[in-house]
Each structure stands twice: as C-alpha cells, then as structure tokens.
Amino acid sequence: MNNAPLLETLTRRLAECPADFLAEPRLGKQGLVQVDAVVSDLMRALGGAALTTEQAAPFRVTNAKQYRNWLSVTLIACWLFSDATFSGGDGHQVYQFLLSQLRELAAVTPAPKFVTDPDRREELARLGLKALDLRPAGETPEQAQDRLATLNSAERQRVIAAARAAEERARQIREALAKKEAEEAADKWTRE
C-alpha cells in the first residue's frame, strides 16, 4: 500500500465521482444502487472477502427517511476507497469506518457536498486516509492531524450553530403550537 498518497489525487477523484456512485441508493423497493453489493465489491477489491449476509444487513435497510443520505455518502466513500491508494488496505477498518464515522458525517451533511464542496471533499479524503492509518504525502502526523482538526472544527462550528438554531426554532414552534392549541382557530366553511 502507498504510504504517502497525494491528497489532491483523492480530492480530484471525489470531484470526478461518476454518476453511478451518485445514483439513488436502493432502499426497499425504491432506488437503483444496491449499496451492500457495492460495499461487498469494495471489500474484495481491497483484497478481502465479500460481505456475509450479516455484514451486508446494515446496508440493506428500507427506511429512506432515516438512511438515504448515509447510503448516498457510503456510495461516494466506496468510490474513494476504490482508488489504488487504498489497495491492500484493511477491509475491516474500512467497513467500520462506513458504519460509524461516515454515519456521523452523513447526519449533518448532504451527500453531494462531498463531491461539490472542496472542504468536504478534503475532509472525507483525510478521514478515509486516517481510517487506514495513512496520511497525505508531505505531511507530518501532527500536520495531518491539525489540518483535519481545522476542517472538522470549522464544520463542527457550522453544524453546532445550525443545530442550535434548529433547536431554538423547534422550541419556539412547539411552544407556539401548545399555546395556540388552547386558543381559537379561524372560521372555515367546512370541517374534515
């Protein structure tokens, strides 16, 4: 495995993510791409075994409202890990990364951002490297860690601020709904 990959190679790869990896993930009877099959192919490409039924199960979920974005990000991550940089990498570590860290990322960032937004591309590339104990060429471990922390920190600040605003708005709405429920509504000509 290449111990000093060029970061730009990976971010460019993300920017050029093909349509197949941006297509709708299969959720139940909806969507196109069977994500468990793509992950399984990745495991084999890394030199490991295909996913067992049990290992594939987390990627065969049906609740689109809950899992669609994470599965979409998973497809993009599979494209990233298919780069020669990761050839011979530890499939188990990649699998765990998809299930844990990637879920956290997907909870706050829409999937296409990891293709279109330079910072998010870099964040995903760096996290992918870190998952396999790699770092970009020309960077010391401290530099790599600092840069990832900076990216994470900026994003975290944005996410925290957005989450606070959303929580405050939700609180205001809940209060308004409770208050207004006890009040008169407005007259209308029919009732359902």
């Binding site: 689109a64 979409s72 809940r174 429920e181 509504a185 007259d187 000509w189 029919t190 009732r191």
Partner: protein, 448 residues
C-alpha cells in the same frame, strides 16, 4: 381569549348587526365557542388573489408527468423544511423522494413548518382522523379563508353560484355530536355573509324544536357538513331549502345522497377534503364516482403498496404533494385513502375513491354517539394509536399499542360517554396494520 376586533378585523356595521342578531336570536342554540375569520385587510387580499387564481383554471398534468410548479416546490421543501432536509439532497427523480404519512406528522409536526414562516398568526386545528394518529395541524387564517373560494369552485361545477352577501346567512356548517364547538361568524371573502357552525344534537338547544325554526330563520344559501349531520337535517321539519348541500369528512353513500337530493331538491356535492391539505377534489355531477381536482398547486399520485406509482386506472393510495397550507407543505404525503387516477386529455381525475366510511356508535341507553365525541373523550390521553370497534352485541373493543398509559382512566372516560353498564374489552397489539380504520362498527347505522 381574543376580542372581536382581532376575531373579526374590519367588521362593518352591517356585519356587527348580523352577528348580534345571530348571537341573541331567541331560538339560537347555546353557542359553545367564539370564533372569527381573523382576516386582516392584507390577509383578505391574499384570499381574494387565491380566488382569482382559481377562475378558469384547470388542474392538469400529463400521464406520467408533473405540473410545472413542482420542481421549485420540491427544492423549497428541501431548503426550508427541517423534516425534508433530513432526507439529504433532493433526488433527481421525484419518485425517489421518500413518502410521508400521518405518523410522521403526529410524531414531529413542528419539523414540517418551513423556516421562513412567522409564528405570530399561526393557528392550530386538532384532528383525530381515522388512521389512528391524532395530530395538530398548523395553519393560518388565510388558509382557512381559502376554503370559501374552493367550496365555491366545487359548487360551480354543479351549476350553483352563491350570491348571498352582507345581512344574509351564506353557509351553515352542521354537525351531529354530543359536544361540538358552535358559533356564529361572518365571511368577508363573500361580502361578509353570515356563517354559522352548529350542532344539530338536541342537547345543544334550549328546545329541540328551535333547531328547525332557527335554521329556517337563517335560511342559509348552502349547508356544509358530514353525512351524519345531513341525515339529522333531513329529519327536521324545515320549510326553507338551500341551493346545495356540501358533504365532507366522511364518505357520502349513494343511498343517502339520493335521499338528500330528493328531500332538499338541490345538488348534494361530495367534497374530498382532509385537514392536512384542505379540499382536494369534488365529485363530478356528470360522471358518477369520479372526482375533479380543485387546487391548482396540489399534485396527486396514486401509489401501490411498494410505493411505486400505479398505472392510470389502477387503484392505490392517494398521495399528495403541495397544497394551500404554507405552514404544512406536503411532499408525497400518503393519505390512507384509496382511489385510481385517470385522465381526460391532460386533465387528471380520481375514480373509485374509497374514503372514510361514516361510523355511528350507540350508548347503553340507545343514544347515538359520534366518532367526534369519542375523539374528544380520548384526547386527554395522548394515545399514539387506537382502534375502537362496536360489535354487533353493542360491546366495545378498544385496541391499543402495548404498554399504553392510563388504561383505567381511558376505560373510565368511555364509561362516562357510553354509560356505566357498557361492556368494554381492551386488547393490545404489537403492530397496527398499514391501513388502520380507527373507528369501526358492526352495527348498521340507519339512514346512511
């Protein structure tokens, strides 16, 4: 409590007198509530604009296609509405957008209100529905006001034009239930014509005979209401006749429709409407069993059990996108009602609509009990889902999710409503089926 100035902004002297007359009428019911239109001049202007947008418009989209306003509406939902933002990025294909249902609204209704909507004039309607998920619907006076032009549009297709104005009563909304909110109001979007919400249950009146006398004195241009209320209305010795009856809330069965038409000698118009969306479609007079869409910005799909669009003519679940309630933008909302979609040219219409069947329960003493009374009785218990069925032997079966709270209190409330000798069995179920009919009865409801 609101004052009349806020309840009826811009009230004219004519309307003030009409309201006073309706409030103080010697044979008026014992009103149980106060309620007004709450339309400021700016809000009223928006209702008028909406009414103008309905004139001469035909709701249309091609087979397998979409209306032109849909892409921007979807983009706005993903940008502005917290619940839809949680899906991630908008998919390329509209049919890849996840569907929602009443349980989503029931669980976190606040996350459906767009970020840009102010909360100052938010109003709330509580609803039980028939699908087992009680919920509150956020709304706005403009949304309620727009019901009037939609009802008028529905009537136009049946050859009925409303002309009543100030000093007259245009519309009476009738119900028949043990407890109901009742009040007089006026409708500025229809020249301040009078509007009343009344309960025909005899207990709401000082004297049951006052019902016919008061209604005759009001002589409304139309009645709106549900089939149970219309069945009672038909039993009253009215001497006046409306221009039309507009039936909502429950399925109007053909037998009762024919009786009402003959009795009142006027069109009986069946409106398919729901709290979440407002009026959706109206039964077409020239094609029995078909419904014409009313709202220009409401897109309707029919989905099969797998969530895929059905072919024209194939029955499935009515699924809504859009609507007039800007506090509750619907994106692929599964209604739990079933119908088929067919086309006449570029104009889609509903056929084989299976809505909510009317259900009437009976107390131990034989008194009829409306489903709305049951809803009101069970509302304090915040049950996430339930099914209440009255068996042929008049006993009640209440089905609840596991570990429902306040089981004894729920039973006690039902005893109060039905009578202390009522037989009540409760059972728990692990999972409710997809199409839950909340209110069920094995008894035959007369005149329905």
């Amino acid at each position: 409590m609101l004052k009349d100035e806020k309840r009826f902004p811009g009230l004219s002297e004519d309307s003030r007198q009409l309201l006073q007359h309706l409030r103080e009428h010697p044979r008026a019911p014992r009103y149980t509530a106060t309620c007004g239109h709450r339309l400021t001049p700016a809000y009223l202007e928006r209702v008028h604009t909406y009414e103008q947008s309905l004139v001469g418009q035909t709701v249309s989209w091609p087979v397998g296609g979409y209306p032109p306003w849909l892409p921007s509406f979807v983009a706005e939902c993903f940008r502005e509405v917290p619940f839809y933002r949680g899906y991630g990025a908008p998919p390329i294909q509209f049919t890849d957008i996840p569907t929602t249902d009443r349980s989503d609204l029931s669980r976190e209704i606040w996350s459906f209100i767009p970020d840009s909507q102010a909360l100052d004039d938010l109003i709330v309607y509580a609803t039980s529905g028939t699908t087992g998920h009680p919920l509150v619907i956020p709304s706005h006076p403009v949304v309620s006001g727009c019901y009037t032009p939609l009802v008028k549009a529905a009537l136009t297709g049946h050859g009925v034009t409303l002309t009543a104005g100030r000093g007259q009563v245009g519309c009476i909304l009738v119900g028949y239930q043990r407890h109901a909110y009742t009040y007089p109001s006026v409708t500025p979007q229809q020249d301040e014509t009078g509007h009343l919400k009344l309960n025909l249950h005899p207990d709401d009146w000082r004297n049951p005979d006052d019902r016919a006398a008061f209604l005759d004195d009001c002589a409304p241009e139309i009645y709106t209401g549900d089939p149970l209320a219309f069945a009672e209305l038909m039993r009253l010795p009215l001497t006046t006749r409306p221009k039309a009856l507009v039936s909502t809330a429950m399925m109007l069965l053909p037998g009762l429709c024919a009786q009402l038409t003959a009795h009142f000698a006027c069109p009986v118009v069946s409106l398919y409407s729901m709290n979440e969306s407002g009026p959706i479609a109206v039964a077409q007079p020239q094609a029995a069993g078909t419904y014409q869409f009313l709202q220009p910005r409401l897109f309707v799909e029919i989905l099969n059990a797998e969530g895929r669009p059905c072919a024209p003519g194939e029955r499935g679940e009515v699924t809504l996108t859009g609507g007039l309630n800007h506090y509750l933008p619907l994106l692929r909302y599964r209604t739990n009602d079933y119908a088929a979609l067919e086309w006449q040219g570029a104009t889609p219409y509903l056929s084989n609509l299976e809505g909510r069947p009317p259900v009437l329960y009976y107390a131990v003493n034989g008194q009829p009990i409306s489903t709305l009374d049951v809803t009101r009785t069970l509302q304090p218990f915040a049950l996430p889902q339930f099914i209440l069925r009255q068996r042929a032997d008049h006993s009640l079966l209440l089905t609840l999710p596991p570990h429902s709270l306040d089981l004894n209190a729920v039973r006690s409330a039902l005893f109060t409503l039905f009578g202390s000798a009522q037989m009540i069995t409760t059972e728990e179920t692990q999972s409710f089926t997809e199409k839950v009919i909340q209110y069920q009865s094995d008894l035959h409801a007369p005149n329905l």
